[in-house]
């Protein structure tokens, strides 16, 4: 081969190497940057006054005097909206009341219609809920029409039913509007407090609030008149309320949205230290975080001693032979077994045979099995790479085999062993399949910091709950920020562990050299 060809080949090889490294970095960026960007959104976002209320009510963070002032000014800004709604309702109520005399004459008739109307009349009146009244009279319409076809029906019946229809059509639109307003602002003052947290507050995040305001301004419906699939049509909601008390509401909300919700950039540290509220729709991910830490440390606690002892046996004591190479092959195979298999084994062995309760201990043991081969392999390599002269020197000074291993070889191999341990910690933190059956729960109280109380408790864990929230949650689309937040936290934990491994290794290596 000519020297120039060789140079060319050499260069092209190194450029391919550079390109592939650059590509890898790029892919990493493409994956990680959006995850972190969206994940940060769980911690740093424009929070509305509703968020601050929720946090103060449930977690006692924040300044209640300052908040009280904010709530007051938000309430003042909202007042006109409620007044418009009120005015509309009372006018519609007046319309219902105007139907009353006609219905009362109808109720006097001594037939099934009369009795039905008499029963319904009891549910009408200014003390009853307005929308329920509308529903009550709406249900009358088909019966009235049917009855109106009869021979001895009074003439005014058609007038009554058309009167009802006039009221109800506008009221249905109004009910929808009220629902969107509820989504945006939460229960109106004086309304009873619902049980579920998601119903107790308006929008807590400004970007969600803006979406809701968009729903308030525009009705989205699907138009199927064309051939093929339907198309989405957006109509301004204000059209439904022309020349009513509601009409100015839209312009008002547009101008005063910020005053009504008071968005402010907020750093919500509680995402890491608060427990979740209302199945993760609000609050933080503390139980997941502590669960992941428990499971990871538990796995390390079980896997490290066994792994290092096995590695010492393989490298220092075992005599080369068929059995040993078979065992080595077993360890390598174990390292390649899919994690769900470990999960099934954990269920079958720890839960069903050993009768351990589903919880941290069973989950840690299963994870320990999963990372054991990695730890054995890494420790073996580390021990093997200790120069042979170290052993010879120790033995020549009269140290026994065990003493040589403990005082000379293990310290020298420590950087490699530690790297293996920390990397497998990252693996254990991220695994989902082994803990599904042995430890994980979608909702659980945060684990106690005392291991003796925590060992038999099922726990939430980052990896499993990310999956759970993305696929099984009833409001998965509404809580994207929580999902991304969890993913970002998990990746941060794993990255930090890896970084820690690198630094630790460098420091110990330096110390050993010096």
């Amino acid at each position: 081969m000519r020297i120039s060809t060789r140079k060319l080949l050499d260069r092209s090889f190194s450029s391919v190497g550079v390109i592939s490294i650059a590509l890898m970095g790029l892919i990493l960026l493409v994956i990680l940057v959006p995850i972190f960007r969206k994940g940060i959104g769980a911690l740093v976002f424009e929070a509305t006054v509703e968020h601050r209320r929720l946090i103060l009510d449930n977690f006692d963070h924040g300044d209640d005097l300052e908040l009280a002032a904010e709530i007051k000014s938000a309430r003042e800004a909202r007042q006109p909206v409620y007044e418009m709604v009120q005015a509309f309702e009372s006018r519609q109520q007046a319309k219902i009341d105007s139907l009353r005399p006609d219905l009362e004459t109808l109720a006097e008739r001594d037939d099934s219609m009369g009795r039905l109307v008499a029963r319904r009349l009891k549910r009408l009146g200014p003390d009853e809920d307005f929308l329920e009244q509308v529903e009550t009279i709406q249900q009358l319409v088909p019966r009235l029409r049917e009855y109106g076809d009869g021979d001895d029906a009074p003439k005014e019946i058609a007038a009554i039913s058309s009167g009802i229809t006039r009221i109800t059509s506008q009221t249905l639109a109004f009910a929808e509007l009220k629902e969107v307003l509820y989504d945006l602002l939460g229960p109106a003052p004086g309304e009873p407090m619902p049980q579920l947290t998601r119903k107790q507050y308006g929008q807590t995040r400004w970007e969600k609030a803006r979406e809701t305001i968009d729903h308030l301004f525009f009705i989205e419906r699907w138009d199927y008149s064309g051939p093929g699939m339907g198309t989405l049509v957006r109509e301004p909601r204000v059209e439904q309320f022309r020349e009513t008390e509601i009409e100015p509401l839209f312009a008002y909300v547009e101008g005063h949205a910020e005053a009504m919700l008071q968005p402010r950039w907020t750093l919500y540290w509680g995402f890491l230290t608060d427990k979740p509220l209302d199945s993760h729709i609000f609050g933080g991910i503390y139980p997941e975080l502590i669960g992941t830490i428990y499971l990871t440390l538990g796995a390390i606690l079980f896997a490290v001693p066994i792994g290092i002892i096995a590695a010492i046996y393989f490298t220092e004591y075992a005599k080369a032979g068929r059995l040993i190479s078979f065992l080595r092959a077993c360890v390598s195979t174990l390292a390649g077994v899919p994690s769900i298999v470990f999960g099934m084994f954990g269920l079958a062995f720890f839960l069903n045979v050993w009768q351990l309760p589903k919880g941290v201990l069973a989950g840690s043991l299963t994870l320990a099995l999963l990372i054991l081969p990695v730890i054995i392999r890494a420790s073996e390599e580390a021990i093997r790479s200790v120069p042979h002269t170290y052993r010879e020197a120790a033995l020549s000074l009269g140290a026994g085999r065990w003493r040589t291993i403990v005082t000379v070889i293990l310290p020298a191999a420590l950087p490699g062993i530690l790297t293996g341990i920390v990397i497998s910690m990252g693996r254990a933190a991220g695994e989902t399949a082994p803990i599904i059956f042995t430890a994980a729960a979608s909702v659980a109280a945060p684990l106690s910091l005392n291991p003796l109380q925590a060992w038999d408790q099922p726990t939430a864990a980052l990896s499993w709950n990310i999956y759970n929230l993305c696929t099984e949650h009833e409001a998965a689309d509404e809580i994207r920020h929580v999902q991304f937040g969890m993913v970002a936290v998990l990746i941060t934990v794993v990255l930090a562990l890896n970084l820690f491994a690198i630094i630790l290794r460098a420091r110990i290596a330096k110390k050993l050299k010096g």
Binding site: P194, Q195, L196, R198, K199, E220, W222, Y224, P227, G228, M229, G230, T231, L232, L277, D278, S279, L351, N352, P357, K358, I436, F437, A440, A441, S442, V443, A444, A445, S448, L449, N450, P451, L452, Q453, D456, Q457, P458, T459, N468, C470, T471, E472, H473, E474, A475, A476, D477, K511
Partner: protein
């Protein structure tokens, strides 16, 4: 090295102190496992219950009705959430192990049949749905829709929702005999109600089914036999694909125990409100 020793000894001492402090008090644990459909109710109840009883740890897992039954049989859970009744085989397996399953109906649920909102089809009959899932009807144009191959999405066979659907839709009477039809081979099986919704909202040609509490504006619920799914039509039986949701316990729980209070939570006013707000139908109100 010295600093590391320091850290280690600190960890050990913290561990010892916390251990000796907490040895005596033992928290009560209530483990729930099972259906992803009952999941939202169970999770909301768990949170409500833990707030009222801070010393109780209620854990909820959503792994499907079948797994819930298995957990109850193996006594690894206290309450099995199920969106179907226990099967005969599960009952006998339970009894063999000395577990006597008792059913508590916590809510009613319909199974809305879901399509993409852009799909112009607004209703189907039970027969048409069955034909679609059997693979007899493969194109939306055969049921009044556009010319588009139907993507059939079903729940996995471990789920109670699947069983319910199989029983109420895929089973019919032919010549006086009840026949269970098989779902066609090309159907997609997904693991949770949420996953069905996600599949349908991203696939214009898809058809799927999920619990009432999982339906939102991103999907369209079809009328079945001319009846739209709603709390009222579900509880009156007018909507054809409806079922109760269960919590199973081993025997009737001891009165006054936490298990008892938990499985009777749906009878309280707060419990009913929670069920209604999540989107299911309370047993007692209508």
């Amino acid at each position: 090295m010295k600093r590391m020793k320091h850290v280690v000894s600190m960890i050990v001492s913290v561990f010892l102190v916390s251990t000796s402090a907490g040895w005596a008090q033992d928290s009560v644990k209530l483990v729930l496992d099972g259906s992803t459909t009952v999941g939202p109710v169970a999770k909301a109840f768990a949170e409500y219950y833990m707030e009222k009883n801070p010393d109780v740890n209620v854990t909820v897992n959503e792994s499907g009705s079948g797994n819930g039954a298995k957990s109850l049989i193996n006594s690894t859970c206290d309450v099995a959430n199920m969106s179907r009744f226990m099967k005969v085989t599960e009952f006998s397996a339970a009894v063999d192990k000395g577990v006597l399953p008792v059913a508590h109906v916590v809510a009613m649920d319909g199974l809305p049949v879901l399509v993409h909102p852009s799909n112009p089809v607004s209703g189907l009959t039970i027969g048409q749905i069955r034909d679609i899932y059997m693979g007899k009807i493969t194109n939306w144009k055969d049921v009044g829709g556009p010319n588009l191959q139907i993507v059939v999405v079903s729940r996995d066979t471990n789920s109670g929702t699947y069983e319910t659907f199989h029983e109420l839709v895929m089973t019919h009477t032919v010549d006086g005999e009840s026949v269970k039809e098989k779902i066609k081979d090309g159907a997609e099986y997904v693991g949770s109600n949420g996953a069905i919704r996600a599949r349908v909202q991203s696939t214009p040609a898809a058809i799927g089914y999920a619990g009432l509490g999982f339906v939102d504006k991103s999907v369209k619920a079809l009328d079945v036999n001319g009846v739209a799914p709603s709390p009222l039509t579900v509880v009156s039986g007018k909507y054809a694909i409806a079922r109760p949701l269960f919590m199973f316990t081993n025997g009737y729980p001891k009165l006054g125990s936490h298990t008892y209070s938990f499985v009777t939570l749906h009878l309280t006013e707060e419990g009913q409100e929670i069920i209604e707000d999540i989107g299911f139908v309370p047993v007692t109100k209508y």
